[in-house]
Symmetry: C2
Subunit: 162 residues, 2 copies
DNA sequence: CATATTGTAACAATATTAGTTACAATAAAA
DNA sequence: TTTTATTGTAACTAATATTGTTACAATATG
């Protein structure tokens, strides 16, 4: 019998201790929502119900993601007879901003098995041996996401061919 | 009521239609196992029980991953009084090989919400607008994984400081 | 004050993962 | 040939994440 009391596996880089990285559709929904806001006539607000109609989901799902985008400073949400609008120029919002805003549970791409046997050379050193590569892999991915702005997405949505 | 019959969300690039990308510890366990095999005296075999002792998990978990590594041509597994040994030089196995071998359920990093409203400009074009960036992000990550070999991991395990 | 909207709790359904037990199939060794 | 250790795999549990849903209090706008 092994691992009866300890958690089965754990996180990789950058603090927090949550288990899985479960890439969700939150990221694409987040980009969708922000694109809607960016293409909305300036000054006008959008309700979660309207946005849910475009994404084709439940308004609560939109509100949950809006809450994350709000916390990241990307949007302002007004209750009551309100709605949402962007707080930054679309050219100043990158896909990495969105990714980081919505993928809260575990920002790492790789999980590590938690309790390798320290009496074994490999078990003792495998984590440190992998750390650098996995970190670089994550950075490479984030660099790509940081290279696309919401303004560019809007442009491509407006001109699908070009 | 929306989306009552269709699956809630779907995969992104490259065929297959499975739902979540749930990055597991299978990748790190796979690398751990291969590192054990690479540091094992040549000619000798390792049993799943021995490897489970180093990883600190159940032998069946090891055998499941060995099955995937075998299918990818990285190891040869012999039943009975058997065990496992590498089928390639450690310098000819990259971390991308391992990643692809074990992350079978969904090799994509990003999922897309599946049924955006086609009557909306954004809903109609958001997928295509995101496709290129997400593809490049995935390629950037894979390029990093392809840049580290099992031989390098072995080296770092043997000399943790350098 | 009336009202539309947000924020959030609570729950169901689904999926993935790690861990576990059990056992038939297999091949090496005695 | 028999014994035996090991693999391969099915079946199950527990934990967790996610999406969708209902319900309703809080809120601010008009």
């Amino acid at each position: 019998m092994r691992n009866t009391s300890t958690p089965p596996h754990g996180a990789y880089l950058w603090g927090k201790e949550i288990k899985h990285m479960q890439s969700s559709s939150r990221f694409s929904v987040g980009v969708h929502v922000l694109t809607l806001l960016a293409t909305n006539p300036p000054g006008e607000l959008l309700t979660s119900d309207r946005m849910a109609g475009s994404v084709n989901t439940n308004p609560v799902v939109i509100r949950r993601i809006l809450g994350q985008l709000k916390q990241a400073g990307l949007v302002e949400v007004r209750a009551a007879a309100g709605g949402t609008h962007l707080r930054r120029d679309p050219a100043a919002i990158t896909l990495l901003d969105v990714y980081r805003a919505v993928e809260t549970t575990d920002e790492r791409l790789f999980s590590m098995h938690e309790n390798p046997n320290p009496q074994c050379l490999v078990g003792r050193n495998i984590q440190a041996a992998l750390d650098g590569t996995l970190h670089r892999a994550q950075l490479a991915l984030e660099r790509e996401l940081a290279g696309t702005t919401l303004a560019q997405v809007v442009e491509r949505v407006r001109e699908p061919a070009g």
